[in-house]
Amino acid sequence: MALVLARRFAALAVTLVAATMIIFLIMEILPGDPAAIILGVGAQPDTLAALRAELGLDLPVGTRYGRWVLGLVTGDLGQSYTYSVPVSELIGERIWVSLPLALISMVLTVLIAIPAGVFAASRRGRLADTGVSALAQIGIAIPNFWFAMLLILVFAVSLGWAPAGGFAGWDQGPGSALRSLALPAIALALPQAAILTRVTRSSVLETLGEDYVRTARAKGLTLNAALWRHAVRNALIPVVTIMGLQFSFLLAGTIIIENVFYLPGLGRLLFQAIAQRDLIVVKDLVVLLAGTVVIVNFLVDLAYLALDPRLRQAHAHAL
């Protein structure tokens, strides 16, 4: 068990380092000189050179990469060109919008998808199954930002139950903050839930055909009891895998959804930073998001260990 964990941690570290290198390289290759962007068109060559020296842009690539990674580890993410505040401060403010949003929509996704998928699988080929599958197909086809607008149209414009956009802030009390996050979270959850429903359904259908489910039936368990006690837990392994992969889609979704609802979160910050060529913010944010994806997938790996005792043996390889 300890050996398994150690191996996973080593793999995590390697992936994280690889991620920082690739992001650094991409940002190097992409056109655009930060100093020129800050000073604008028509800057004097010597002021430009002075600023480049001040920003450390004239140092060799290796040194700059080393400094940047060191900064990431120590929490010194550098200074935003446009906001003139430390990037860590910007991120620290906005993460309290994006993180709750992602968590709420993930919870919604699971609460919708797993019961719906199990239900459809247990009614295979019948009307309920066809209905759930059709809804899932439609859910996948609907762009989430359009669904967000429909939610605004119905719940904000017509019914007035929730704000059409903006974020009240947590200091106004959790009630109003959660109200601002409700519609965005639903909009983010819809396509994820649709995909996860399909995965759950087919995974449960597969485990329902397993011998141990028949064994459970032979013990006298009713179909429903055998389904929930034996088929579902075994079916969760591929479901958890997809949930891990979905998390990266969820982060990407926040870029669009935060723009639809004008939420001051990380996605919107990234979008604005890109528009304003605030490259250091872009670089830090992307590495943060990519790091989150990598860590979430690491946690998914750990979840396998909890779900499947076979993997706890040292010689078992990661799925």
Partner: protein, 328 residues
Amino acid sequence: MDLLSVSNLSVGFDTPSGQIRILDQISFTVGRGQSVGLVGESGCGKSMTALAIMGLLPVAARATGTIKLDGQDLLTLDDTAMSGLRGRRLAMIFQEPMTALNPVQTIGHQVAEGVRWHLGLGRRAARRTAAELVARVGLPAGRQGLGRYPHELSGGQRQRVVIAMALACGPDILIADEPTTALDVTTQGQILDLLVQITATEKMGLLLITHDLGVIAQMTDRMMVLYAGRIVETGPTAGVFNAMAHPYTRGLFAALPSSDLVTSGPRGRERLAAIPGDVPAPSEALQFGCAFAPRCPLAETRCRSSEPPQIALQADHSVACFRPQGQT
């Protein structure tokens, strides 16, 4: 009255191109403390017989006839009522111990599940019962033993767990579907010994399904030979072995490794060298005449045109063949 009485049981599948019959009018009984063997090659309908009795046939299958347990016809019960009998009065042991156990639950949990479900025992009482059951099938029953997962056990140990699960509520009828086929030779003997010992002490009725005449000879009081969904020969085991009447039974016997009656090779999957050909697919069989005729060395014209009659030979020993062997 017999404990389990199956009469005229037929099982068929509805397909777009008509009904396919898997079992055709089979009848037999199993008494308390009696051990009945059902033998035949794979694909002849043995497992369908077991699943029909357990009420676990695939959804597309249709069963007709009667299956009476203490006079109550199981085929008329709905699934809830059947669930109440399964595991409590009817129990089953499956062929593949590698897949019959849930890989993510401890064996203690899986053995205890039946008694918790049927007898409503609490966690602690169920655990005690599970420990007793596990000890009875010869596995370590301490906290260590019960907390193990299936992948930590050998094939024979897993099959012992499956047997413990089947015994949990003290069933009246135990159906064992090829219980030793997936095991190695020495383990096969141990598991069979365990089954003999348990069914004897518990006075259960045992329906033992196998492709292996050696196992039948060792284990059963009565036997039936199944071919393409029909019982072609049946009688007391000793009587049938003394005077095998059906060419198919003889073929099965000739296919046994001569040195040893109990085992049939490491995985028991050799083809029957003595009988050329294969069991016909259900869609092809049961049209006209004797289903075995195409493979039978003694087949005549009438074997291919009309169904052979059921001939009584000795007390209780009967055969469905125009040319029964060894009768002079």
